[in-house]
Symmetry: C2
Subunit: 213 residues, 2 copies
DNA sequence: GGGCCACTTGATTGGTCAATCAAGTAACCG
DNA sequence: CGGTTACTTGATTGACCAATCAAGTGGCCC
């Protein structure tokens, strides 16, 4: 292999990113050794440092990868199955519930985990984490706006907070019960919030990409 | 010093626990070296291993310390300043806001941080984390029950989730804005939830310790 | 076909980690 | 006063860590 990047399986760089993505999600950043990443990717350290200047640079790439993947991998599939804007919001939360269930309540949102673990001084990483949160909130805010609720940006921030905090509690208790309690309360909350009285600031009020028809 | 444990400042064990409590909060568990703890406590490794069998055992002790401290250090002071049960709930959230503000939005809830960082297989630690969450939720649920709202345990779980998720977002954005957005939405949520129709399961309905007027 | 360059190999480096250990010090008890 | 016990000291151990490096390998272009 050489020159311009070759096919799929032997694409070492992509394998490294994918291995790191998985391991940072499963064990966190500090608890993942470079050797773990190398073993999982089937590469060795020289190759690694050919593509990345440091473990930290790899983290930044992983976070960028998440930001690119959130629309096609998370938002779009949920949107496709939603009939109303608020269906979409609840569908997002249900999709995290599935992930929790699949992992016996041990792993939840990879971004949330890194948000609390990564040193606060690491601004490049936290900017990327914030960008991921913004993408998530942007999609929820659009749906909330389309549903005609007041303060869609606040609502989106709130819903994201609930999801992250619910995942955290379910991990600690190793049970879906806290997550399900939060799901019930989000439903109650959305059902009781006021509708916006005037056109909201960001969107023109006519239907947007979230959940046509 | 010897024999039965001596005075306060030279109590090595207590200094070790306090140093660890601070450092686990500031940097997390994996990112805190034993040498950092020893330096901060003014002890050396032999002393450490006289009192604790491992770094992991120290973590368990720190978590137990938090569980003992939550009532006198967090809940009681907030309760003392609250005039109504829901005042108490919002006061709790405001106290976390203060901590966030004091640290330039970098450090929030020490338990939440550990909940996501500590390996899921470490059951003794996660049991203690869950116990801390339960103490927090117990106090909130009592207040919610006293306020006469439906499903107090669900509401408490929900409020804790919001707090943890809001702290997380404020850390990522290095801004109080996400936290404040969540505060507004919690207020709106609590104002619109239905009252319980019948006496609730756990409490006898007459006023409890939370916020006598 | 010769040289260049992208990429790989894996041993190695220096540092830090949690944990161990043998040797000490001093308070209390008999 | 001599022994026991609680605690301290700090050097040491071996494992592991991220990062470096010199020596390759092989496809592509001139």
């Amino acid at each position: 292999m050489a020159r311009t990047a070759p096919a799929d399986p032997p694409d070492t760089r992509a394998r490294l990113v994918e291995a790191a993505r998985y391991l940072f999600w499963e064990r966190g950043f500090a608890n993942t050794g470079l050797s773990d990443i190398l073993a999982r990717a089937g590469a060795n350290s020289g190759s690694f440092y050919h593509f990345f200047e440091s473990k930290d640079a790899l983290l930044r790439t992983v976070l960028d990868t998440y930001a690119e993947a959130i629309e096609p991998m998370l938002l779009a599939p949920v949107r496709a199955e939603s009939r109303t804007p608020l269906d979409f919001v609840m569908g997002l939360l249900v999709s995290y519930r599935g992930r929790l269930q699949d992992t016996d309540c041990t792993y939840g949102c990879p971004i949330g985990r890194l948000a609390l673990e990564i040193d606060a001084e690491n601004m490049p990483a936290h900017e990327r984490i914030a960008r991921n949160f913004d993408a998530w909130k942007g999609a929820v805010a659009a749906a909330v706006r389309e549903a005609g609720l007041a303060r869609p940006d606040d609502v989106a921030t709130f819903v994201l907070a609930v999801m992250e905090g619910a995942v955290m509690q379910s991990r600690a208790h190793r049970s879906l019960a806290p997550y399900d309690a939060c799901l019930r309360q989000v439903t109650a909350y959305l059902a009781t919030q006021p509708r916006a009285r005037t056109a909201r600031k960001t969107a023109p009020r006519c239907s947007r990409k979230g959940s046509r028809r």
